[in-house]
Symmetry: D2
Subunit: 337 residues, 4 copies
């Protein structure tokens, strides 16, 4: 790698910390020059100092307008993703934007147009594309290990529901949680969703219903390449973060299991006990987060296509929206891109 | 067990052989007195002789009218199930009938009525209810090991499609294959299906389409008790008979894997290789078939309720029919019993 | 199979019951004509009646001298194995004898000579040779799946120690328990043990020391074919009967795991819990016991070599004796056959 | 961590690269100031440059005498470990020394004395103590999850033998390879080896015999705390680096499996295929190497005891030496420390 890519981070919350740590310790080709957040916590100040990030600001424009910065990571709240992406692009910065770009489809289109016009790169934060297990599934489809793809199955369950205040502004389960699974289906199949049907319900926590959302769902799909897909979601698996996948085809299937902290199994009086899955996304996708930013940095350095672009951010939201329509109408919905 | 229950078998095909073998070698409380089939093969004659079945006939009425027989096993072709069940019941025989009782719902109702009127027992051949893995799932639901049930997942794939001639008269994938899975969902949940949605397609073999059927499906359901369920089917898994299940609830999940011929795992240059699943239903459900007939015999002996009765035979067909309607209409269908 | 082989059983204890059940329900080619035991329990009387065994006696000679009997199963106490085997052989009966033939090597030699002279078959009760997992290991060695054999590893642990009164007359851990593992090493390798070294200790229960025995051991061996082997034993694994094996060679390894009652795995708050191993030999080797007697019956019917003969009974005792010598001397002992 | 610990590295071979990478990218509390090797390869020059190591020398004394350096990592050839450790200690540097400190026991004692006299820290490169799987085993012993420890089992096989030139100077299998396993036994048990017995042979490659060494071994031990242990080794497992462990006690066992690149399992026509183990120590113990150096740095920073000290380096060599004696004499050897 010929030079250090200089990065700025907008937002100093949990996911900003993940990326800052990845860059500082694991990505030799990049360095963080600035970070901005109007409400900087003590904890954020500590890690910003630990990671030797030289510039701090309350105003994200200080990051965007810094001519010494090549690219920005947008880790602020969802409603700011689209406008800041456009501003950053206009300022000539490459953009890594956490998902979703926006809950509103025309806002996303407008943002992609702005990015295209500016001629910068836009990568969307679909971290699972960089996970060893999902990459193994992808490879088995791509190299035809499983022959022609017939079926994709994704089980995706969180260890516990988010705060109800978050649920209210999240855009709903499909837009907030299943969106990752929709992207995984697109990623694994290399195809688009043609039709979708969704059942959803509140089985975990009644207060979710009051917030107008669901916490459990089964979503089935027909893909343009002829394969089918099915996702099952729950906001609460008491045993932790359940992230399993399966691809099935004419020559076999590949099935992935959860990652665990170690391989030890205890044979005791009450059974044969293995470790629970790694608890949540920060632990489970630690390596994926590193790979994700590293891939973004390499795309800039080598002027290559990003591994998850604006179209991926757009289409996953379109699918989530169609899933919601299906659940409400009780009908299979054709997905229009 | 106080006495030997005397059984007659109608039909001398593959499944008749399975039951005859179970009774002869594994069920001390019963004996086969007669068997009838208009077209007896050489192979059938051989095992009938090996198992020392004293009476052979071309006419099933000889079995039904034999006063020395307590119960009959109806293993003839599907279209004969309902009328022979009614005749046998009228003759005072308890009946074990292979699934489905009939493809026509009113025929089934009529048959159940006849059985009820005759005051005999009717057990339907849902063998998976007697399988160690599905029984483990059932137990985890019933004793609340997994808390409140939220989700049932069934993967059910055959090693290879049946002959196209069979497909044409089978009633279709949902009626012929998924019917077992529908019964498993009812068995595991202890509840009824309220709404159903199905995607189906021909991905394995185009000739199935010409026969008016599908060979791959994803079927999702909402159950009356609030839980959801999802079944995925394929007529062809090149690695063998894939029979996995999962129950998920507020306190955890139980997941079953396929049975294998032994536990040996080969660590070699090309990977770490475990055995394929037991190839097909005869091997996979060998013990379940024994348990099934043993349970039927015990129900007679102890005058207790059968483990899979007429209502189970009826409702699974009603659900299969609703699944077909959903696939055609692209809508979620309310199941009316 | 052309005719029913008529069997007599000597001894009506636990293992006699196992074999009687196997023969009655699972081995169509054989039937039990007589059974003898001087101390018949109520329980024994019950199963003898259930299995319709026609003749009962207090005197084993009634079995041996019955001209209608082809073969006897010797299931009486260890000290009677050798003399009854000789008597039975002299009376022209084929003999299935539980292990060990005797604790005294010259007694065993004398018995084998007597059997040879009589021209009858002698099979020794090494049931593990008929187990699906050990057969898979054997096959991997024989068909060179693992290339040239380098190492055999056996883990063999009982769920709990036998009564101390039994320990006292058992001949010691190596003669009573490890003897099965020695036979497995010979069976898997197709070779003989050349040198042996043993560490043993009392780690489970001090009263075993008072009885002059050990309850834990590690035994290593060099085999005549160049491979090595190692066995680890314990009289008490709180999680049940632990029976694992491994063969390792130039082209890979095959490793077996314990059998379990079903494949269900519970994902719960306290871990991911699989079933414990099948509790003890009656459950674990149920199928193996059936295969074992079936193999004996077939050997008689087809006049073929038994799968575990007198030499196997002899050599395993010789090895056990050498292991004991090694433990006492702290030296590697050459095994002299 | 209050300040950056300044490190120097002696030797620029493969393991030096591993540590340099760990420090540069994963250990924020330390930095590499200098590196020395008389024969610097092009490849070494490249990574030294990539990692921005400021000072390069052909003479290790330049590192030892640099007053700006707190500690040195000795990654040179085995025969230089002891003298350089003593020189470094005399110069007031803390020392991390790759195993073994020396092949000669009195050299090791002399080195430990020198380190003690200098009042610096000495950590020995037993990387497995920092591996997630072995740490899980250790925890299960320490917190009595398995009750009282009865047995430790270690399987340790390399993917392929080292070059024969290396074998000749390695000190032999026990000193070069098994030494890690001996340390693991000591680590897991928290006890010392009291008696040892070893069988060894050449099964993989005859040229090893010409070099006076073995390539396959089974080593059994009695520990001072009463437990037993057994190690099996091979220089060549065609399926990769096999690193499994087991601890067994009065309340159960913990068994570890190999780490794999991902959890995907392929169900295909030829079996159910999981990934092979991570190929060799660089991949398998990547995290352990990071943890190891991080632990060393923390010990310096917090002036705490190192996790693997001089005594661990010494005793593992004493045990290896006793194993060799046992193999030659065919006797159990008491280990004298």
């Amino acid at each position: 790698m010929s030079r250090k890519i200089k990065l700025g981070i907008i937002g100093a919350g949990r996911i900003a910390h993940v990326h800052a740590k990845s860059i500082t310790f694991h990505i030799p080709g990049a360095a963080i020059k600035s970070i901005a957040d109007p409400y900087m916590t003590k904890e954020a100040e500590r890690w910003i100092s630990d990671f030797n990030i030289p510039n701090l600001s309350k105003d994200y424009r200080d990051v965007i307008n810094d001519t010494g910065i090549d690219a920005v990571l947008i880790c602020s709240s969802t409603d700011t993703h689209a406008p800041i992406t456009r501003e950053a692009a206009a300022a000539g910065k490459h953009v890594f934007c956490e998902k979703p770009i926006d809950l509103n489809i025309s806002e996303i289109r407008k943002t992609i147009d702005a990015v295209d016009k500016a001629g910068v790169k836009l990568q969307v934060g679909f971290n699972r594309r960089f996970d060893h297990n999902f990459m193994a599934l992808k490879k088995a489809v791509e190299d035809k290990t499983i022959g022609d793809l017939h079926m994709i199955k994704i089980t995706s369950r969180d260890p516990s529901p988010p705060p109800i205040e978050y649920v209210k502004v999240s855009g709903g389960l499909f837009m907030d949680m299943t969106i990752h699974d929709f992207d995984v289906v697109r990623f694994l199949s290399g195809s688009e969703v043609e039709e979708i049907f969704a059942y959803g319900d509140v089985l975990v926590d009644r207060s979710v219903a009051d917030a107008g959302d669901i916490d459990s769902a089964v979503v089935s799909m027909k893909l343009k390449n002829g394969a089918m897909a099915v996702i099952d979601n729950s906001r609460k698996a008491c045993y932790g973060y359940d992230q399993r996948g399966e691809v099935f085809g004419s020559r076999g299937a590949v099935v992935t299991a959860n990652d665990t902290p170690h391989t030890g199994i205890f044979f005791g009086e009450n059974g044969v006990v293995a470790e629970k899955p790694l608890h949540f996304f920060l632990e489970r996708y630690r390596e994926a987060y590193i790979n994700e930013i590293n891939s973004f940095v390499e795309s800039i350095d080598q002027d290559s296509t990003v591994a998850a672009g604006g179209i991926d951010g757009l289409n996953s939201v379109i699918i989530a929206s169609a899933a919601r329509d299906s659940m409400k109408s009780g009908k299979s919905v054709k997905v229009l891109y």
